[in-house]
């Protein structure tokens, strides 16, 4: 990935820019190079760039003033939550202001009567659930980085998680925001009442990857925890049988709370890593959660068993909380387990129509032989979101290039079978140059014009999402070096 060269005029104005930001946030400007290095990258560490300066506002008014100043001074800005983006959404610019939202982390109101929580954008995803679980509620979207990632970042990326098929992505659980437009004006979109009084701009800004403005307050929906959750594991001797089983379950009207697919390579890797007790001889397994009231879950279990039997699979249920956790721990350790096999790893994030799974896995296996690189596959089977993990050693000449070419081939394949480039990680910088694989010129022109409707000067997170003529390197992955995941304390699934 080549960065656009920084604007020398902006670099020459650095001292004045720092002084202006200090006038707005006296106790929150980071300028020393050693301090700024903490912001060099997000969870896509293959790309690093030290920002011109970082500013950490505490109030919506400060954010508004920063953006007003940036517009006047014509300085690019990059918003950042916790820096857990897997697509480089928070990658800084050498000639840009990084705005870190971590200090705006108050929960402002919990309103059980209207089933919502109003909060500042720096509150972590998991903190929402912690705040309401005492009353039996939770916040549904659960990206794997949920102990660290913030709601502001979740909104920017429209984050998902394991339970999207049943409970939706961020966009389906977000009721309203206060949003600062480029230029500094604050608008309110949505709220505790449903629906938009006009165009649904709330839906548009969700998942806009920091290109349209910044969230300074959000109101999210909370859900009552289901009284019963049961977990089961189905194993299969052939991938098409597992695929057919997924189709049969969904076609029968069952919407599992989660349904995860793992292929043979992944099963072997996690068995060697934390021995969750998966059947060693299986070609594919499914881990399924069913939730609801007792009879509902019992009914789903009986029907799922029928479909697993019909698809020549074997079903076992985890009995008890500890056994459920163990059944899930292998799946949740898949990334870390693969990281043991080779020093480097990239994670793809395409979505495909579920019926295409056997064909896509066959093609990926063929690519794996062609590129002579290992690849294993985990799959949110309920919603078709595929996470192939490519393992390689970047110290070997040419392997990184091969891995990147392999990854881009997988995403092209996803698009070819009717799917998309990214199901939940976002485009960011990593898939930017593949956008033309999925969208025509007219499609992209339409999106560009919307960008311009909000941000006429192009100062908001420039270089992200949309391909530019100057950039021609094919990308599309999360890079992991030395088996060290960025944010190693976070599970990745």
């Amino acid at each position: 990935m080549q960065f656009a060269p920084p604007d020398p005029d902006i670099l020459s104005r650095r001292d004045a820019i720092i002084a202006s930001l200090k006038a707005i946030v006296p106790d929150g400007v980071i300028e020393a190079p050693s301090d700024l290095s903490a912001y060099e990258s997000d969870a896509l560490p293959a790309y690093r760039q030290r920002p011109l300066v970082a500013v950490l506002p505490k109030t919506a008014e400060q954010v508004s003033n920063i953006l007003r100043y940036a517009a006047q001074a014509q300085v690019p800005i990059v918003p950042r939550g916790a820096g857990t983006s897997l697509s480089g959404g928070a990658l800084p610019r050498a000639d840009g202001i990084l705005i870190g939202m971590g200090r705006m982390s108050r929960i402002l109101e919990i309103d059980y009567e209207n089933r919502c929580v109003t909060l500042e954008p720096g509150v972590t995803n998991a903190a929402i659930t912690r705040a309401v679980e005492g009353e039996g509620f939770y916040y549904a979207p659960d990206p794997s980085s949920q102990i660290a990632c913030t709601i502001g970042g979740n909104i920017a990326e429209n984050s998902g998680g394991l339970h999207c098929l049943k409970y939706g992505l961020t966009t389906n659980n977000l009721l309203g925001v206060k949003f600062v437009l480029p230029g500094g004006e604050i608008i309110t979109l949505g709220g505790k009442a449903p629906g938009a009084a006009g165009l649904d701009l709330l839906g548009l800004i969700t998942g806009s990857e920091g290109l349209l403005g910044m969230v300074v307050e959000a109101t999210v929906r909370i859900i009552r925890k289901a009284p019963v959750t049961r977990t089961m594991l189905a194993s299969f001797d052939a991938v098409p049988d597992a695929g057919a089983c997924v189709a049969a379950i969904i076609g029968d009207g069952i919407v599992p709370a989660a349904m995860e697919f793992m292929d043979r390579q992944t099963i072997g890797a996690v068995e060697a890593y934390n021995a969750p007790g998966y059947p060693a001889d299986a070609e594919a397994i499914l881990i399924i959660d069913a939730d609801g009231v007792e009879a509902e879950v019992a009914d789903a279990m009986v029907r799922i068993k029928t479909h697993v039997d019909a698809c020549k699979g074997r079903l076992i249920e985890a009995t008890g909380t500890a056994a459920r956790a163990k059944m899930w721990q292998g799946r949740k350790a898949a990334f870390a387990a693969m990281g043991r096999l080779q020093p480097d790893m990239i994670c793809m994030d395409g979505t495909i129509p579920r019926h295409a799974l056997p064909r896509v896995l066959e093609d990926i296996a063929a690519m794996s032989r062609h590129y002579e690189l290992g690849c294993c596959n985990v799959f949110h089977a309920g919603d078709g979101n595929l996470h192939p993990l490519i393992i390689f050693d970047a110290m070997k000449p040419g392997e990184l290039d091969k891995a990147e070419a392999f990854g881009a081939d997988i995403l092209r394949l996803c698009v070819k079978v009717g799917g998309v480039l990214t199901g939940e990680h976002g485009v960011g910088i990593e898939k930017r140059d593949l956008m033309t694989e999925m969208f025509s010129e007219a499609d992209l022109d339409q999106q560009h014009r919307i960008k311009c409707a909000f941000d006429t000067s192009g100062l908001f997170n420039p270089g992200k999402v949309f391909p530019t003529l100057s950039a021609c390197v094919e990308q599309g992955h999360m890079h992991v070096r030395g088996a060290q995941l960025p944010h190693p304390n976070l599970p990745r699934f």
Binding site: A193, G195, A197, G198, G203, A226, Q446
Partner: protein, 385 residues
């Protein structure tokens, strides 16, 4: 009136309109034409683009939970095709019979108006299940937004914008929806003789539970429904599930509510509520108030409307009102943290009041810029929103 039957024909029509700078009205089944501001071009009657011929189910894959159809497809046709595989649209689209328009409601119209019915409570409005679309913009270009898979974050989420835009951004040529299982069994519980405060509190108690109701409505005394004597008002709670889970939910709900009788005709009542049929022959303006559910009883009491009801656990009030009630309705809705949509009124009043209250300046500016990003010449349904 020009009738088209394909995306290419839509595109050619838009290009011609663009050349001649002639705005036009987009009509599908024609059942919702009286919703929104009356449209005009300097006082002249607008040409009409009839898209009802851009019709038919393109692809339906029940195992993928996805259906793609052209926007002129009659709602009834699509609902029947989905019901045959025990599936349904999540936003429970309804015909608005209160307009009394002849013709068949279409999918495109339901999406463009976000005509979400009582079932919205469970699976959300149209925007929560519209995954992708094709359309022609005001540049005369055919384009797509979103995709045909249930999970996608690639590029801006344009499908959201299409829902409830009343055809002011683009002319739809194809829409792809995520669909939901449609359980075989359903039951509606009713509590009689509850005043609005107690009634809405009962609805919220179920809404806050883990029972996943598919309908939560309140019918006040005096509203004409075939329910016998409902005293101060009726609470209606609907569940859909397989047989045994349904029994469990009914028992749990009765415990929560302190009783409840099971209604035979619950589905019919909910359909009537969603259609706005209560107002079919009433000589009143009709408003839809979107509210935080906890505010419903207070707002309803303050309005004292002769004809009204509540849906979505109180998040929606249908209000019949006289012309001069408009300022009070808008003020009460705003004060409660919601907004009031004027759905049915004589043309002059719709022209004066608009569909939605005026927006603050910054929001109005960005809204206009987004509109211009799709349709800079203002060709589509001019002035309607």
């Amino acid at each position: 009136m020009t009738r088209v039957s394909s995306e290419t024909e839509i595109r050619d029509f838009v290009r011609a309109a663009r050349e001649s700078r002639n705005p036009f009205e987009i009509v599908g089944g024609g059942t919702r034409r009286s919703a929104g501001r009356p449209m005009a071009n300097e006082g002249k009657k607008l040409p009409v683009l009839d898209v009802s011929g851009v019709s038919g189910i393109v692809e339906y894959q029940p195992e993928e939970l996805i259906v793609t159809a052209r926007p002129g497809t009659p709602l009834a046709e699509l609902k029947a095709a989905l019901a045959a595989r025990n599936q349904c649209l999540g936003f429970d689209p309804v015909d608005w019979t209160l307009f009394g328009a002849p013709g068949k409601a279409t999918l495109g119209g339901a999406v463009s108006a976000d005509a979400s019915g009582p079932g919205r409570l469970r699976h959300g409005p149209a925007r929560d299940s519209l995954l992708g679309f094709r359309a022609v913009n005001g540049f005369g270009e055919a384009f797509r937004g979103g995709a045909k898979v249930v999970k996608n974050v690639t590029g801006f989420d344009l499908p959201k914008l299409m829902c409830g835009a009343f055809g002011t951004l683009a002319v739809l040529s194809e829409v792809t929806f995520r669909v939901y299982p449609r359980p075989l069994h359903r039951t509606t519980l009713m509590l009689r003789d509850r005043n609005p405060e107690k009634g809405f509190a009962a609805l919220r108690a179920v809404w806050k539970s883990a029972l996943e109701p598919s309908g939560l409505a309140y019918i006040p005394a005096g509203a004409k429904f075939p329910l016998g004597d409902i005293g101060l008002g009726a609470v209606l709670v609907r569940f859909e599930a397989a047989e045994l889970p349904l029994q469990e939910k009914i028992v749990a709900a009765k415990n929560l509510l302190g009783g409840g009788e099971e209604l035979e005709q619950g589905d019919t009542i909910f359909t009537t509520i969603g259609e706005g049929a209560l107002f079919n022959s009433a000589d009143l303006d009709v408003w839809r108030l979107s509210l935080p559910p906890s505010e419903a009883a207070r707002v309803a009491d303050a309005l004292g409307s002769p004809l009204w009801l509540g849906d979505w656990a109180g998040a929606l009030l249908w209000i019949g009102a006289k012309a001069d009630d408009a300022p009070l309705i808008r003020a009460l809705a705003a004060e409660a943290g919601g907004h009031a949509m004027l759905l049915r009124a004589p043309a002059a009043r719709r022209a004066e009041l608009g569909v939605f209250p005026p927006q603050p300046r910054a929001l109005a500016t960005v809204t206009a810029a987004v509109k211009a990003a799709f349709d800079p010449l203002g060709l589509f349904n001019p002035g309607r929103l």
